[in-house]
């Protein structure tokens, strides 16, 4: 696929920035993104005789052949962005979806920054659909308005007497029609509308339909090109060994044997890494295995997971930053008829994206090119510039399809590493991480430890809730301004904005950055931890109050009608309350995160040897407008499998400073033979769309854990599930 950066030419994007703004920021959510709508038609451009495309703004290109290119500011990682985002534009532009091609946006934060992620050009946090919902429809509507005006001018009729449909402007009065392709030049000469009218939901033709995914055909025929598939003349392949202890250094390396391997061309030594450059990955791997490397493990040489756990535990006994306080918790706890205390913890987790980390780089004296699949390409560009010392505009980033992101590719450590290696290589080099290297040098979902207490009154009502947890703050590193007064909104998401009505509530957070292990975003991030704790603990309270888990939750949701609806729906569809055989149980969870309401009921079976099989998950979801209901369903199904992988198996542990897991044998993930049936029920409404990439993951973990409690009366307060605790229970 041709990259947008090629399309625009080297200076194109910058030139566009200087053009005037044409749509005013109209909502907080869309504001920053709308700054992108600056590129319109200055006169010289518009009247240029060789006008090949109509480019009304940063997102839409109409060609003379009538095909529409949509510059998608968010990358495709499997979440359907290359289908749902074009749907928004096509809806307003009145073109069929098969006339539309999607293209990656080039790195340019002014044009394509994500308003929901601090203006960083990033795809993550289930923000993509929410960030584009209004601006991209406006982009389509603006283009349509200009095309209609152009046709009306040519026919000397009023624009209001014309209408746009199926890639044409028609004048119903006289039956005249002009294709968009024929209007490219004339539309470019039209003034940019100061405001546009968006279609009413009842007039939507595409939004709300399960349009086919545009990226699917290339993905079933092996033709789709991911970062790892890049091919270039004289390309070399490299693989690497980085210091097995984070922060360690390379002491020495004997490469005699490696150099003798056929196809090995070069051994690259860095401070904390060795790479073998070869004709193909087979030779590079063989060469790597033949190296005799000695590491200086550095100060984290003795680090164990237990050390980190102890540190977090101690932190929760001190004072933390108060994230939220309502009423007087201490007093309410004193008067409670019953007090419940618990400690929860969740482990470090790797992303284990199916496509291992990789990045292809060509460093020349005066320029650098990078081929990669990344969720933050402007940062990738900056990283390459920093390593090479080149100015930004000398670094070209060619972004590619991503074989799984889950947060891993919101970081650019891989780009930095690949450029460090490529700097020492003559010609282009593709650096590929082995799976072991990918898992052992990930940036991990943080380990969190929680101390939580609640008080119930004589009738079983919750009168106090006190929660204090400790762990890493990713935002404090990733977007420092977002970390204030010891808090960031993401780490506490799902714990501070708890959906239940609680008269006395206190949440404290203690930021503890573990030594010797880097942390990063991971599908559903804050909520992946907080919803597990909150939804498990509320289940404990229901049990303590001797109430049914669903009705107990419902009684705390009077102020939350949308949450109530999804909870009741999931309960009904799952047959909540109907009898199950021995050692089977149902567990429930309900949440409001990423702008989406979701409830899940998981049905599990616990065998006598303690192993857990999740049979079925019923999910009710209210994500506002479901732009593409089939994509919503697919995202829930996938997120549920991802969460179950974590619940059953997910754990990264440290011993002697080294990550103990290495490949899919020691870092297991769910397989098809273990996969439950996932039923998704969508609540329809016209509210703005909520995020869908992540909620399914945070919701399923407590639902499964609560189901295990229902089946065995064993309450699991740490993940992953400890099968040995469930033997014969």
């Amino acid at each position: 696929m041709m990259m947008a950066s090629d399309l625009l030419g080297g200076a194109g994007a910058d030139a566009l920035v200087s053009r005037r703004l044409f749509l005013k920021a109209s909502s907080a959510a869309g504001g920053a993104l709308l700054l992108g709508f600056d590129l319109l038609a200055d006169v010289d451009r518009a009247v240029a005789a060789e006008q090949e495309t109509f480019e009304p703004n940063a997102f839409v290109r109409v060609g003379r052949d009538g095909r529409v290119k949509i510059i998608v500011p968010y990358v495709e990682m499997g979440q359907g962005n290359y289908t749902t985002i074009p749907m928004l534009v096509a809806e307003e532009l009145e073109v069929p979806l098969d006339a539309v091609d999607a293209e990656h946006a080039p790195p340019n934060e002014k044009l394509y920054g994500n308003p929901l992620l601090g203006g960083v050009q990033a795809t993550g946090g289930s923000t993509a659909t929410r960030a584009v919902w209004k601006p991209l429809r406006e982009a389509g509507a603006a283009a349509r308005t200009m095309l209609v005006a152009a046709a009306a001018q040519r026919w000397s009729v009023a624009p209001s007497s014309c209408k746009a449909q199926d890639g044409e402007v028609v004048h119903p009065g006289t039956g005249r029609r002009l294709t968009y392709g024929a209007l490219v030049e004339a539309a470019s000469a039209q003034p940019v509308p100061q405001s546009v009218e968006l279609k009413r939901p009842e007039d939507f033709k595409l939004i709300g339909t399960s349009a086919k995914r545009l990226d699917a055909p290339a993905k079933v025929s092996g033709k789709a090109v991911y970062g790892i598939d890049v091919r270039l003349p004289n390309l070399k392949i490299a693989t690497l060994a980085q210091s097995p202890v984070f922060g360690g250094r390379l002491k020495s390396v004997d490469d005699t044997k490696a150099k003798a391997v056929k196809g090995v061309r070069q051994i690259v030594r860095l401070d904390d890494c060795v790479a073998v450059v070869a004709d193909h990955m087979g030779a590079a791997k063989k060469g790597l295995e033949a190296l005799d490397i000695e590491w200086d493990d550095g100060s984290h040489r003795n680090l164990e997971t237990a050390d980190i756990q102890r540190e977090l535990e101690e932190a929760t006994l001190k004072r933390g930053a108060v994230a939220k306080e309502v009423g007087d918790v201490a007093k309410a706890l004193e008067t409670a008829a019953r007090k419940v205390d618990a400690t929860y913890q969740v482990p470090f987790l790797a992303h284990a994206t199916m496509e291992p980390m990789n990045c292809t780089v060509h460093v020349r004296p005066d320029a650098c090119e990078v081929w990669v699949g990344n969720q933050v390409i402007a940062r990738a560009q900056a990283a390459a510039a920093a390593v090479t010392g080149l100015p930004l505009e000398k670094v070209a980033i060619h972004n590619h399809l991503i074989g799984g992101g889950f947060g891993r590719r919101l970081e650019v450590d891989g780009v930095t590493r690949a450029v460090q290696i490529a700097k020492l290589v003559d010609g282009p080099v593709k650096v590929i991480w082995t799976r072991e290297e990918d898992i052992q040098h990930d940036m991990y979902r943080p380990f969190f430890l929680d101390r939580i207490s609640a008080g119930l009154d004589g009738s079983g009502a919750v009168i106090a809730w006190r929660h204090h947890f400790a762990g890493s703050s990713i935002l404090s590193r990733w977007l420092p301004p977002a970390f204030q007064n010891g808090l960031d909104p993401e780490t506490i998401d799902g714990a501070a904005n708890i959906i239940y009505g609680l008269p006395n509530f206190r949440l404290e957070y203690s930021r503890v950055e573990p030594p010797g292990i880097p942390t990063a975003f991971w599908r559903s991030v804050g909520p992946s931890h907080n919803i597990f704790v909150v939804e498990s603990f509320i289940d404990e309270l229901a049990a303590a109050a001797k109430k049914d888990p669903v009705s107990f939750r419902l009684s705390l949701l009077d102020h939350q009608p949308r949450a109530k609806t999804v909870l009741a729906l999931a309960a009904e569809k799952s047959g909540w309350g109907t009898p199950l055989p021995e050692r089977r149980g149902r567990g429930v969870s309900v949440q409001f995160v990423f702008g989406t309401y979701m409830a899940q009921v998981a049905e599990v079976e616990v065998t006598n040897d303690g192993s857990v099989r999740v049979r079925k998950v019923v999910c009710a979801v209210d994500c506002g407008t479901a732009i593409n209901p089939d994509v919503v369903e697919a995202q829930v199904q996938g997120a549920v499998m991802f969460g179950i992988s974590a619940a059953l198996y997910g754990e990264i542990s440290l011993k002697n400073g080294r990550v103990e897991q290495g490949n899919f044998d020691t870092y297991q993930v769910l397989r098809l033979n273990e996969a439950p049936t996932v039923e998704v029920h969508i609540v329809k409404n016209n509210e703005p769309p909520g995020g869908m990439g992540e909620p399914g993951t945070s919701a399923v973990v407590p639902a499964v854990s609560n189901a295990i409690y229902a089946a065995t009366s064993i309450r699991l307060r740490r993940m992953p599930i400890d099968a040995s605790a469930l033997v014969n229970k």
């Binding site: 079933v220 025929s221 091919r231 990955m281 087979g282 399809l401 991503i402 899919f664 098809l672 996969a675």
Partner: protein, 154 residues
């Protein structure tokens, strides 16, 4: 040394060490990047190809073990009747998400249906449990295999 490989009906000569995994010959030497790398240890199925019709993890198959055999990959599978049916079923069912595992999934599914046109659920579990999908498309893979069977019957 020079090795001769027959891939999707075409002969190729490659000059690599005998023990080079077939995966890297396909991807890096011959530029056929449809077959994917996921683990390098026969744990994920992303690299699945057919060798004389048998689903095989190319990441641990030395290239000299494939000489003289008929190798088929995702690039050629659509030319077979069952391959086409499986790809169509995948599209009809909207199986793919990131898509990275799907070459391997499809190659495993085609091998299953070629050798066993009417697999039971247990047969499907058995044949497909070696292929990991991190995006969690398992339900749709199951359904697509069944759809391909029905199409086959019809």
């Amino acid at each position: 040394m020079t090795t001769s490989l027959r891939i999707n009906g075409t002969e190729h000569l490659v000059d690599v060490d005998d023990d080079t995994p077939l995966l890297w010959v396909l991807r890096d030497v011959l530029g056929m990047t449809g077959t994917k790398f996921g683990c390098g240890a026969a744990l994920c199925g992303a690299c699945t190809v057919h060798i004389d019709g048998a689903p095989t993890r190319s990441c641990i198959t030395p290239v000299n073990g494939a000489t003289g055999a008929e190798i088929s990959t995702i690039e050629g599978i659509g030319t077979t009747e069952i391959g086409k049916k499986v790809q169509n079923a995948w599209l009809q069912n909207e199986v793919v998400q990131c898509g990275y595992c799907q070459s391997g999934q499809i190659m495993s599914a085609v091998a299953l249906l070629t050798n066993n046109p009417h697999p039971t659920d247990a047969d499907i579990d058995e044949a497909m449990s070696g292929n990991i999908c991190r995006c969690g498309t398992y339900m749709r893979i199951r359904d697509a295999i069944k759809l391909a069977i029905d199409g086959h019957r019809g």
